[in-house]
Symmetry: C2
Subunit: 570 residues, 2 copies
């Protein structure tokens, strides 16, 4: 028994859990209206595992025996399904390819080390064998960070850190915890909560992502506005590198040259394998509360977010959806849920009396935490600003519902794929002065892309994270293309979205990372000199290209990742 | 007319401004009591400039003519005094050496570029000539970051960025400003204030330090607790590198791989010359207020700081001095200043009635800013915690006085040197759980060092910065050694202090940087692997060692910088 849970080999999350639109009477009409697809018609299904051809493991006897010596037989796995699970992350590109049996360069072995020292032993063995090592956390990555390069001829070793799952130490005085990198979100929060603590880091992928993965990709959570992104939360760490171990002690702040901590954060396995992390923790707050609001337009909601960030208030979350996403949220609500009535007839009447166009309204969720007194104070400031921007409070109900189902959304991609609709997400941050431009232009670029490929599509967006100087906007887009060409269709839209990010002052990614998926835009984001700096770091630390090569820095055509058709051949 | 102000060649700050103890009746008795030195006796004086021998410039005609073409004759300066001003920073090691005429490797030329493009031209010329380039801001560095390596045989070029002093752009919506890197603190705040904005970054060196210098050394200000250190404030930047220009657009947060921004911050000229910086700015607050308190002991003050950081309050500053520093603050007060009476007879009576030992009391200054309502709210939370830890409020007077004279302290080092007393500062951060240990052990190590060198000494400390997980403690120490050996005496104490930082969970520096002064401890701070990562970065970006070589990473003996006697030869 390995004792590590992995996701479905063909899709998101637990076997047996799927998206369902039962009891959501508005959902099927919504999809039909927006994408022209009847989801009540017979759906496709993912292949059975025995229908796909898995390339044989190329693990050498030498390397195997060394790994078995280090870890024990049980934790050196060459089983086909396990190798396929570890071949990809869970981007829609991954989901499409795995369903087609396009498995790429499947790892030759999956390792489950049980200690930091075993990771050191793995690193030694891998480097000695001139193999490639790819760290694997919860497998939820959507930027192609977990897959080997397609033409990799050396042995490929996937290191699943799932057994490194303990909260090792809590320094209660300093509100710091030392936690093993492979722990999944829920397991970690359970261990912390049992002792009265919380990390407060809740990305969409929370159920299937790990602390080490968050650090390796510069993650941000749904409730990060007050206590910061993982880069703020991470105060120290341990990383296994070829022939040495990096130890960064927990420090509140330091002036010790270029930040090595900030080089490891976001390094996606290119510098080594993170085994332990020191993080800020917080006492479980007395009060944690979510409130829902509507705005007449998205711009009003954005203006409220900006003013709140410049006020004395600091909510843990400020989310506002554009009109397209609001329509989706309403269509995705359960009829039977008392709280699911995002908008009662009475509220609609209020909106109409105010002269609002119901096709343009935008839903917003705002979260607060702290002492009861502080939450009251924060809410008072926030509500005043929201009201000044035309926001209409509709209570805790819809917001609490949203909080409860906040991790369900990724399942929908598999559901849609069964019905020939590739869908995925892309997010970026910009200064406040460019938020509107970014939204409107990115939507326009996506619409152009839909026209170009000749399939119907849908794009929607929300402000997911707010800062003093700007915000992250999170786009979700879907293409109604069930053909064999739908990966290319997806790519055309994805490329249009990413290029819009670059053209309007954004970054390649706010919190999903770079991987191979976003690497072609890096030079536009951080300039050629910035890429040169990153490349210098990777090449210098890993001259043999053994550490998850090919991620972040890019050698191919602009706008082309090695797994898609080059733009000039589309 | 170059139009750039520089400090005295032999000491801190403006010509004609000096520390004075006139009207401070307690000061001379205090120094006599603690260090055994009578400051009323005849003092030494710094040498006249014509008393020291300045090595001739080795600037080649070729390089000169190329630089003159790029900048114009006026801004290519080989004048001796200008070169000496740019030879060193203002650490006490620098002050001692310059007074002795030990000038080290004085730069061959000082350049005053007037634009980003001129910095590019300088970089090209320097690299083509295989010269060494050292960026220079306000010259207040105390970690030997501004001096060439003593055995440097190539031409040395100091680039004074003082003409790059404009606030170029304020994005009011995003609360971002684009500012040239060479602007001194007061000039920058004046430009911002005139438009209703403030950066809110006030290091001790404010009068003589620049935005670019703050970024290059990971600076922190006296009022950084709420809005963050310069690493938090810096959102984008432009840096001239050999053959290329790094452009990082302003972003609130990003997940674009290892943070290039965080590699430039703290790079001390080893990656290039920063010319422009995008920073967070804030509206000038409605209220900014400082309050003073006393605690019966330092530990009480530290406990209050910790609890405040874990509360819903966020003061901009929380400073508490230990008993030694409190005695200094009291002795340094002006008799004539109404506010200078840090402690009235009435307050003393209150303390005595509480059973306080007046030799152990600790003074504390706390700052708030924001709307009037918010400051009231913050103060209420803070005051309750302070009271619970035995703190005694003594009003705004002493705190306001402290705020007004907050930039005067550096002048005292020259005054003390005139009287044979080398004094300087060293600061570190630790988690809260190790703050007390760090304080007590560092003081004990310094006392041991005083005993070892056989001279009287004094060490004092305050908590200067507080964070969720820990705090920075700022130590000031003085050695009563007027001999020719006093640099070695200083080094023994400095080494003891730095080693204590390492032994008790601290970092080499919280906000002064590394330079050459702290580089010997880097491997203990960030581990050998961390130094390897930094070195890989520097060597890869600058294979010719043209960019301020020798700083941050270290090749000599542990505990030895190239300008002091090696520890085994003391």
């Amino acid at each position: 028994m390995i004792g590590v849970k992995n996701q479905k080999w063909w899709g998101w999350g637990d076997e047996g859990i799927n998206f369902s639109f039962a009891d959501k009477p508005k959902f099927a009409p919504f999809v039909l209206d927006r994408l022209g697809v009847d989801i009540n018609a017979a759906a496709g299904r993912p292949p059975r595992f025995d229908e796909i051809a898995v390339p044989a493991s190329q693990l050498s006897d030498d390397l195997r025996s060394r790994l078995v010596d280090a870890l024990g037989e049980t934790y050196v796995v060459t089983d086909d399904e396990c190798r396929v699970v570890h071949a990809y992350g869970k981007g829609v590109r991954d989901l499409i390819r795995v369903r087609r049996g396009q498995l790429g360069r499947v790892p030759d072995v999956v390792l489950y080390p049980g200690s930091h020292d075993e990771v050191v032993a793995i690193m030694d063995a891998v480097i000695d064998a001139n193999a490639v090592v790819i760290p694997y956390g919860g497998g939820s990555n959507i930027t192609a960070s977990l897959e080997a390069e397609p033409d990799e001829t050396r042995q490929v070793v996937s290191v699943d850190l799932g057994r490194l799952n303990k909260v090792l130490e809590i320094d209660e005085t300093s509100q710091l915890a030392l936690i093993e990198a492979g722990v999944l979100g829920p397991d970690m929060e359970n261990q912390l909560n049992a002792r009265g603590w919380t990390l407060g880091h809740f990305p969409d992928s929370f159920m299937w992502s790990t602390l080490g993965g968050w650090v390796a990709t510069r993650s941000s959570g749904q409730q990060s506005d007050k206590f910061g992104d993982i880069a703020d939360i991470t105060r120290g760490l341990t990383m296994v590198m070829p022939g040495q171990v990096l130890e960064l002690r927990p420090l509140p702040s330091t002036s010790s040259g270029p930040s090595v901590r900030e080089m490891v954060i976001g390094s996606e396995g290119r510098l080594g394998i993170i085994t332990k992390v020191w993080v800020n923790v917080h006492r479980i707050p007395e009060v944690k509360e979510f409130q829902a609001y509507f705005y007449p337009t998205y711009d009003d909601g954005v203006a409220a977010a900006e003013e709140i960030m410049h006020s004395d208030a600091h909510p843990i979350m400020f989310r506002v959806s554009d009109a397209n996403e609001t329509a989706f949220v309403m269509a995705n609500g359960k009829k039977s849920s008392r709280m699911g009535h995002y908008m009662s007839k009475a509220i609609q009447q209020v909106m109409l009396r105010k002269g609002w166009d119901l096709d343009k309204i935008c839903i917003s969720f705002v979260g607060f935490e702290g002492s009861a007194v502080d939450v009251r104070y924060q809410k008072a400031i926030t509500n005043k600003i929201i009201k000044a921007h035309g926001g209409l409070g509709v209570g805790k109900g819809p917001a609490t519902l949203n909080d409860q189902k906040k991790y369900d959304i990724p399942y929908i991609r598999d559901f849609l794929l069964d019905r020939g609709i590739p869908a995925d997400v892309s997010e970026t941050s910009t200064p406040w002065s460019r938020v509107k431009e970014m939204h409107d232009e990115t939507v326009a670029r996506a619409e152009e892309a839909f026209a170009q490929i000749g399939h119907r599509g849908y794009i929607m967006c929300h402000v997911s994270h707010s800062y003093h100087t700007g915000a992250c906007q999170y786009f979700t887009f879907a293409v109604a293309d069930s053909s064999e060409k739908n990966l290319d269709s997806y790519d055309v839209v994805k490329r249009a979205v990413q290029q819009s990010f670059m053209d309007h002052g954004g970054t390649v990614s706010h919190h999903h990372g770079v991987g191979e998926e976003h690497s072609p835009w890096m030079a536009q984001d951080i300039s050629e000199a910035g890429v040169h700096i990153q490349r210098t770091l990777f090449d210098g630390i890993d001259p043999g290209r053994n550490l998850n090569p090919g991620k972040i820095t890019h050698d191919g055509l602009p706008g082309w990742s090695s797994n898609s058709t080059p733009p000039d051949q589309l």
